[in-house]
């Protein structure tokens, strides 16, 4: 069927901020969909609140709304834009839920637009557990026995019928939020309560446990003619019981015969037809009893999912792009396969390699959280790796993790465990289990022992056992004893040079050199959808040690862009955004662009983002083999965050042509002593600091620096293990429990500038001229990690004089550091308008996409061109100052996934993503940023205030404003007393330690609709923790700094009068009428 001509415009709903369970895979799918739909001539309207996405670049959709993805805002967009159709299947659960709500409100009917890609009936059947189960019964497929509960008595009844352990699956939640496994009766009440409150419709499915069964997923596509294809089968390495997002997964399926696989395939197609997904991609999950092959349908997602992104990357079959085309009426046989060009998309990819995905966790950020894995997803990112064999793919995936692991090298993890304890430890599903399994095999346990302990399929265990045996056979050998054939054999099992170096007790360089001497080099093979049956036209490659190579290098001028690796807190989609921009800009400038990355969720690992894609770990070994093969004129290390940076010095030393700011300059900025000298030379200021290499030194250093101070280990990503400290006691305890400290890795102490305003400045320099991309004033004070604070552009409280001075300082720093490309500086401005430099990063920062969206200038593209040799003048770009609107960036936190975790913000970064609110004024922009990050600002109720002394001066104004808006105010005694001194009376409530009825009791009654709680120092933080934990669990908006409190009060005003609910497309904000290039800005 040809495409539909009855629709002209389509609204695509994005997925919003990166959260656990919904990450940049939806930027990948949405971007693909927009490109495909525009290519077909449709007008595409987009709503997504996440500024760090490629899809929200103004040149992608025709109309881009960076607005909260809530029914209210989307309805407003529909009212204005009147799209003919809405495509809700590209934006994850967020988009589906929003579409359902809009349907329930009658919005589609009212404005005459229709859902495409999915219908309400099928979404409901797939999402509603009970309807789904009934549907499965109808088509003769088994479901786990289960009962639906909407109350505690229901749950008790279910427990009686089904027996323990039980699985809780709340309806309509992301990544299984609120779900879990109940092992015994004493856990039932607590866990069911959490599950019920997580479900938007207060419903939880209680299910018999399938712990230990195999978990298998099939990715299915269907078109309007009912053609159905399975794109990929994925087998979970971890058995049932661990959320598939948290499981190690393998494609294709390794341990089923064709007969068993076809049963699953038939079942998946039946499910697809019964649920009624007319077009597009879906994912069906099965559990399979490893003893008799009994099959149970677990669930299906009637939309593009994380697994579809994985399946697309694993096979080269672009599910989202094709799903978008199917949604507008094409059939699978009418769409061609991009990779082979001559064959159609209506086929099932055959792959001649193995892919392994390993999830990446960030539990070190949340020590109080439960670190065990279950039905609720907890991972923050993932890596994917290709190898000709499972062993090769597995070990390459381990190297891709960027957790300083290069194979089964975690013997440290287990050195204190006895043999039995080691086996015991493998029983618990946890992030380190893979390594523990390896160590248990090394300790002499058999595959059978481990199968009994873990229920991981013996085939996988056997493969790991072979690797461990190979390792053991290498120990004590000399490297020279390996001939080229045996070295090639070992390398083809996926052993990294680094791991071999450990096993052979030599340096990594020695392994590399020896390998090259014997001419044992990696080969590169194509991901081509067809196992080489047809010629591939898309150079999408992975390395291996097989004999033959595909896709020989061209003789064009090439630039390699090193990507950002797995998402984790501190390094997310923002860096991928920059890498993609580099590829786009340099492609336009005539270079052959080559991307290297291992994150399957991203746009950068889409095969048509760059001219060539190497899906590889970002290690020195992998990058060197690509560089040696491709011989690029330049390699960009600035855009991928810490990932490429940490190997940049080694790469430069090996002769890799790193372009842009020199590795030397990066080192100056990172080295405290050298940087301090530079600051002094320029006559600038930085907070007092000291370095300590032991606990005793730390105390002395603390006295020298003065309190409060910020303490952290020397090498940090996203502020890991940073803390603000107020007393010497706290220094002692930090040094004891907080960090590993050594001569090479000292701890750093910095004077903490209390109540100072933090400012981020992004700039681009070509080595001669420096342009300021943006000045962002943080809403939270200095001391809150910049990745966690909200910020606004343009600054709202800084004087023009200060802003000009900040720009001046940024420019002289850029020149002094010989920056070529991007630079980010973090300043602190004290109340006396004194300016301190906190940090300089001569590379892309997290804020680049936000600044680019707020100013309409693609700064990462500009920087890429500059790095490749162009001058800013040639590019013709100017500084801009947005006029007539304010942009606010707010951070999004994973606290709801970690019950029991304190939500107070500090120097340790905890957010997973960000949103942007744009509005004519600050209050509106801030309000939007809150709704966009799923914080529902109330329009009535009581506000609870507990404010530290240093902040109390702001209290009267806040309370007056709140009362004026009709909110009640409740305060702890200290805050209430202070207010009464100012003639304001408020309701007083006990602190928890004062006894019941106290504030936590009050939160439980639902009387409080907002919390502003600013604790200071360790003790008050601990005292008030229960307030924040309970507020988090009950989803009461909570603000832990006074500045954020002020901002939210301003926003409440906008909510109260409804004026926040106005939407405007980015293209309109950025039209020349709004943005005047500042003439004076182009400083020579």
């Amino acid at each position: 069927m040809p495409k539909r001509t009855d629709i002209k415009s389509i609204l695509l709903i994005g997925s919003g901020p990166i959260v656990i369970g919904q990450a940049c895979e939806f930027d990948y799918s949405g971007t693909q969909a927009i490109k495909a739909l525009k290519q077909e001539g449709y007008k595409v309207i987009l709503v997504n609140s996440n500024p760090a996405t490629i899809m929200t670049d103004p040149e992608f959709a025709d109309r881009t709304y960076i607005e909260p993805i809530t029914a209210d805002f989307v309805e407003e967009i529909i009212r204005i834009e009147r799209p003919d159709a809405v495509l809700p299947t590209m934006g994850g659960q967020t988009a589906l839920n929003t579409a359902l709500e809009l349907e329930e409100r009658g919005v589609f009917e009212k404005y005459g637009c229709q859902l495409i890609g999915a219908n309400v009936e099928s979404i409901k059947t797939a999402e509603d557990r009970d309807l789904f189960r009934k549907a499965m019964d109808e088509i003769g497929l088994e479901s786990a026995r289960s009962m639906l509960a909407t109350s505690m008595p229901d749950a008790e009844e279910a427990a009686k019928v089904l027996g323990y352990p039980l699985v809780l699956r709340p309806s309509r939640t992301l990544g299984g939020t609120g779900g879990g496994i109940v092992y015994a009766a004493d856990e039932l009440h607590r866990k069911v309560a959490i599950a019920l409150s997580a479900s938007p419709n207060h419903e939880v499915l209680i299910e018999e446990s399938l712990l230990g069964w195999k978990e298998i997923e099939l990715e299915v596509m269907r078109d309007l003619k009912d053609n159905v294809v399975i794109v990929c089968g994925i087998e979970n390495f971890d058995p049932m019981g661990v959320h598939t997002g948290d499981s190690i997964t393998v494609a294709p399926i390794q341990t089923l015969t064709d007969k068993e696989y076809q049963l699953l395939r038939d079942a998946a197609i039946k499910v697809m037809r019964r649920i009624g997904v007319d077009t597009g991609g879906s994912n069906v999950q099965f559990a399979l009893n490893p003893k008799d092959g009994r099959i149970i349908v677990i669930e299906m997602n009637p939309r593009v999912s994380r697994s579809s992104a994985l399946a697309s990357k694993a096979t080269g079959f672009p599910i989202a792009k094709i799903a978008a085309k199917l949604a507008v009426g094409y059939t699978l046989d009418e769409i061609s396969n991009d990779i082979t060009k001559e064959t159609p998309a209506c086929f099932e990819p055959s792959i001649d390699y193995v892919v392994v995905k390993i999830p990446r966790f960030n539990f070190e950020k949340f020590p109080a959280a439960d670190h065990s894995l279950g039905t609720q997803m907890k991972s923050v990112g993932e890596v994917l790796s290709f190898g000709r064999t499972f062993q090769e793919a597995l070990q390459k995936a381990m190297c891709s993790m960027e957790m300083d692991t290069y194979g089964f090298d975690r013997d440290k993890l287990t050195k204190d465990l006895g043999k039995q304890e080691l086996l015991e430890a493998t029983k618990k599903a946890a992030p380190q289990r893979l390594w523990l399994v390896g160590e248990a095999l090394r300790a002499g346990f058999s595959v059978r022992d481990l199968y009994h302990a873990t229920a991981i399929d013996p085939w996988f265990l056997g493969q790991i056992d072979e690797l461990i045996q190979t390792e053991e056979s290498l120990k004590g050998r000399s490297i020279e004893s390996l001939d080229s054939e045996s070295l090639r054999e070992i390398k083809s099992l996926g052993f990294s040079d680094r791991r071999l170096a450990q096993l052979l007790d030599v340096k990594e360089a020695a392994v590399r050199d020896y390998r090259k001497k014997l001419n044992v080099r990696s080969s590169f093979k194509s991901v081509d959808t067809c196992a080489a049956e047809f010629v591939a036209h898309t150079p999408y490659l992975y390395s291996t040690y097989d004999a033959g190579s595909d896709a020989p290098p061209t003789d064009r001028k090439k630039i390699i862009i090193l990507g950002a690796g797995p998402n984790r807190i501190g390094q997310g989609i923002e860096f991928d955004y920059c890498c993609v921009h580099a590829a786009m800009a340099l492609k336009e400038d005539g270079f052959e662009t080559i991307m290297v990355n291992c994150n399957p969720e991203t746009v950068s690992t889409d095969y048509d983002t760059s001219d060539r894609l190497y899906f590889e770990p970002l290690t020195v070994e992998s990058v060197m083999s690509i560089v040696e093969r491709e011989k690029p004129v330049g390699v960009i290390v600035q855009f991928g965050g810490q990932t490429p940076l940490r190997i940049s010095a080694e790469l430069a030393a090996l002769g890799v042509p790193v372009i842009g700011t020199s590795v030397e300059s990066i080192d100056v900025a990172e080295d405290r002593e050298r940087f301090s000298a530079l600051i002094q030379k320029l006559g600038l200021k930085q907070p007092k600091y000291a370095t300590a290499r032991s606990a005793d030194e730390a105390l002395l250093a603390a006295r020298k620096v003065g309190f409060p101070l910020m303490i952290r280990p020397s090498f940090v990503l996203g502020g890991r293990a940073m803390r603000v400290i107020y007393t010497e006691d706290e220094v002692r305890s930090y040094m004891h429990e907080g960090v590993e400290v050594s001569h090479d890795r000292p701890v750093l102490l910095d004077r903490f500038l209390d109540s100072a305003i933090e400012v981020d400045v992004d700039a681009v320099s070509d080595g001669e001229q420096v342009l300021i991309a943006g000045v962002m004033e943080h809403i939270e004070p200095a001391g809150i990690h910049s990745g966690d604070s909200s910020c606004c552009l343009p600054p709202q409280t800084l004087s023009q004089k200060v802003v000009e001075e900040l720009k001046r300082q940024a420019k002289i720093l850029a020149k002094e550091l010989d920056v070529v490309g991007l630079m980010n500086i973090q300043f602190a401005v004290t109340q006396a308008e004194e300016i301190f430099i906190l940090e300089v990063n001569p590379r892309a920062s997290r804020t680049v996409p936000f600044v680019s969206k707020a100013t309409g200038i693609p700064w990462a593209k500009v920087a890429s061109r500059v790095m490749a040799g162009k001058k800013l003048r040639e590019i013709g770009v100017h500084e801009v100052e947005p006029v007539g609107y304010v942009s606010v960036k707010a951070s999004v936190f994973p606290f709801s996934k970690f019950p029991g975790v304190d939500t107070v913000l500090g120097p340790e970064m905890k957010s997973t993503g960000e949103v942007m609110g744009i509005h004519a004024n600050f209050g509106g922009a801030f309000a939007k940023s809150q709704f966009a990050s799923s914080t529902k600002l109330p329009s009535e109720g009581k506000v609870f205030l507990s404010i530290r002394d240093g902040d109390k001066a702001s209290l009267p104004a806040i309370v007056k404003r709140l009362s004026g808006l009709g909110f009640g105010v409740v305060a702890t005694k200290g805050s209430a007393d202070f207010l009464s001194q100012h003639g304001i009376t408020v309701e007083v409530v006990n602190k928890v330690r004062d006894g019941s009825p106290h504030i936590v009791d009050m939160l439980g009654t639902g009387a409080v609709s907002l919390v502003i709680n600013t604790p200071e120092g360790w003790q008050p933080v601990m005292d008030s923790k229960s307030i924040r934990i309970v507020a988090n669990e009950l989803r009461i908006p909570t603000y832990t700094t006074i500045a954020a409190g002020r901002a939210v009060v301003e926003a409440l005003g906008m909510v109260k009068d409804g004026s926040y609910l106005s939407v405007r497309a980015l293209q309109d904000y950025l039209s020349p009428a709004v943005v005047e290039p500042q003439k004076k800005a182009a400083t020579p």
Partner: protein, 397 residues
């Protein structure tokens, strides 16, 4: 009849170096597994590849692979071992196999024996540790050709190349005579199911009143026979070469033309009786059976560059416009332009637009080039058995 291969003592391979030599001089070195076949007893056959990711046991036991050495594109083979159920005939027909990794320790609840032992018992050699993707690309670019494979002491790869050259081509070779049954027999077994395995069958009483199909065996896969029973037929199997009068004497309600190995152009002795029966009895052919029907209807066959072997080929049913994902295993095809006008090309391969199905309304016969019995492979095309049943019953199509 079984192939009269010397049932000499099989020696189990233990990773000896072996070579896979193509007639055009390309040689691949690997390690032997399964049975060891030395210089005096090398494996010979046409080098082909199959892109199915699952179902190696069904492929190995498919008689259509007689005379061929199979290169599996999926790198892991043997993971799920072998069992008594996943067979398409009584033995391995593939002459030899070439894989990236062969697994010794299978993991599957139905596995009863490792691939290694399975092969060793059948005196079939495998080679592992080979970059199979390179072989595929080579065959894709240079076309199908003959190959020789041997391992152990005293094997000279160049000599293997010379031997491979001497093998000529698959064109003009009749393998059907080696693999077809010699005696007539009846079939009563039903398809595999998870709970019932492979041994469910129907009694004489259950079968007696059913429409009767005579299947001409050119190397039939047992799943075809199983599905014929499953769809409602009583099935009698006769050897290829059985005359039309002998077949008609069995009073068939329908005749089925089976799959099988080799060059269809050599099979005049099968084509002729089919031609004689055209119009007299409804007919359905699969794969080689399709090529036989094609010739009986006046068409010609030709050799494809490297054939279609895999489980992911899109085929469009030209009657309904629907696409099915099909299982394929053929090196020859029916020439589109050679067919008379009254023959309808019912199915097309969307990858290369070759003929995948034909139909003659007046002869009440149809056939498909691919494998609707799909063992291994997707079940999309099993409706064709129903279509045949409807045709036999005279029901509307």
């Amino acid at each position: 009849m079984k192939i009269e291969k010397t049932q000499q003592q099989s020696i189990e391979a233990r990773g000896e170096t072996g070579y896979f030599a193509l007639a055009d001089g390309k040689v691949f070195k690997g390690r032997c597994f399964g049975a060891l076949r030395g210089a005096s007893n090398p494996v010979t056959g046409e080098a082909v590849f199959n892109t199915s990711m699952y179902g190696y046991q069904e492929i190995l036991t498919d008689p259509s692979y007689a005379g061929q050495i199979m290169c599996f594109t999926y790198p892991h083979i043997g993971n799920v071992g072998c069992n008594e159920e996943d067979v398409e005939s009584s033995r391995i027909y593939t002459e030899g196999l070439v894989v990236r990794v062969a697994h010794k320790e299978p993991s599957n609840f139905r596995s009863t024996v490792s691939l290694q032992s399975y092969l060793a018992k059948s005196n079939v050699m495998g080679l592992e540790g080979i970059d199979t993707r390179q072989i595929v690309a080579h065959l894709r670019d240079n076309g199908a050709q003959m190959a020789v494979m041997a391992g152990g002491e005293g094997v000279d790869p160049q000599q293997l190349v010379a031997q491979a050259k001497d093998l000529g081509s698959m064109e003009g070779k009749d393998y059907v005579k080696h693999v077809a049954c010699k005696e007539i027999y009846t079939w009563d077994k039903l398809p595999w199911s998870l709970s019932g395995g492979n041994s469910r069958k129907l009694s004489q009483e259950q079968l007696v009143s059913r429409p009767h199909v005579v299947a001409i065996d050119c190397g039939v896969k047992t799943n075809i026979l199983r599905l014929l029973v499953d769809v409602g037929f009583r099935v009698t199997v006769v050897p290829a070469g059985t005359t039309s009068s002998e077949i008609m004497a069995l009073r068939p309600d329908g005749v089925f033309l089976s799959n099988g190995p080799g060059d269809p152009a050599t099979l005049g002795y099968v084509v002729k009786p089919v031609q004689e029966m055209l119009g007299k009895v409804p007919m359905f052919g699969i794969c080689l059976g399709h090529q036989i029907l094609g010739q009986a209807l006046g068409g010609k066959t030709y050799k494809l560059k490297f054939g279609h072997r895999g489980g992911n080929h899109p085929v469009r049913d030209e009657t309904t416009g629907k696409v099915e994902i099909t299982v394929q295993n053929h090196g020859f095809a029916v020439h589109k332009d050679s067919l008379p006008k009254n023959v309808f090309i019912s199915h097309l391969n969307l990858n290369d637009m070759t003929v995948e199905g034909l139909e003659s309304k007046e002869a009440r016969a149809f056939s498909v080039q691919y494998h609707p019995e799909s063992s291994p492979g997707p079940h999309d095309s099993r409706y064709l058995f129903k279509r045949f049943h409807d045709l036999v019953m005279g029901g509307a199509r």
